[in-house]
């Protein structure tokens, strides 16, 4: 299992369309992908958009990313990349 933290850096936060991108990306891998808010421990399955939206992750929220499965290395890097480029919004 790979674990690390990612930070929401786009001004709009993890809103519906950003969440949709994340879910689509996470869903393209076989690995399980879990996101947890560092500040209040809300934990969600990153492959469900309705789950991801309940994180209510605004700009500057830090999330713990857990990826587990055969393609975890690629999945972890891809998802970190999506956060790093602010979901293509910055």
């Amino acid at each position: 299992m790979l674990e690390g933290t990612v930070k929401v850096i786009n001004p709009l936060g993890l809103h519906a369309r950003a969440a949709a991108q994340l879910v689509q990306l996470a869903g393209s891998f076989n690995s399980g992908v879990i996101l947890t808010r560092v500040d209040n421990s809300t934990t969600v399955d990153a492959k469900s958009i309705l789950n991801v939206l309940t994180l209510a992750a605004s700009m500057n929220t830090t999330l713990r990313l857990n990826v587990k499965g055969e393609d975890e290395t690629q999945a972890f890097e891809a998802i970190c990349g999506l956060f790093t480029n602010g979901f293509g919004e910055i």
């Binding site: 519906a16 969440a19 949709a20 209040n40 958009i49 309705l50 939206l53 209510a56």
Partner: protein
């Protein structure tokens, strides 16, 4: 996988706009359609339109009709099509319910899915101010 079809039925243009919003979020939704019933539309014509919509989205494993308000004409018209294992109705449609129907991924029965969509709709209503009161927030909220 054959998908349960979806028909959103509302007063005015709410149904079309809910579908458009869901498509913006999750992409094209060929198995869900919308029927908007005007305030002065003829009930018989509206009934035909709902019947057509149900037929259009059906893939043989049932159709979930989501209406705007219990007791309203869209619900009452839709209720005429209620049939076990074929047509289920959930009222009080909101965007998370449409997204739930759009994105469910495991094969399920129409009645189980209807229950899941109903639960999703209820769980998706938050008094957002409560999020700013972390000390009062329930752990399971």
């Amino acid at each position: 996988m054959k998908r349960v079809g979806g028909v959103i039925v509302s007063h005015g243009q709410v149904a079309n706009e809910l579908l458009a919003a869901a498509e913006t979020v999750v992409g094209d939704l060929s198995h869900i359609t919308a029927v908007s019933i005007g305030w002065h539309d003829d009930v018989e014509l509206a009934k035909d339109e709902v019947a057509r919509a149900v037929k259009t989205v059906s893939q043989g494993v049932g159709v979930l009709v989501m209406t705007d308000m219990f007791g309203g004409t869209p619900t009452n018209i839709s209720a005429m099509f209620l049939k076990e294992n074929e047509v289920e109705i959930v009222t009080g449609v909101n965007l998370p319910m449409v997204i739930k129907l759009a994105t469910y991924s495991e094969e399920t029965t129409l009645s189980d899915l209807a229950k899941e969509v109903e639960d999703q709709g209820k769980q998706s209503i938050h008094r957002t101010g409560a999020l700013l009161e972390p000390q009062k927030m329930k752990k399971d909220a």
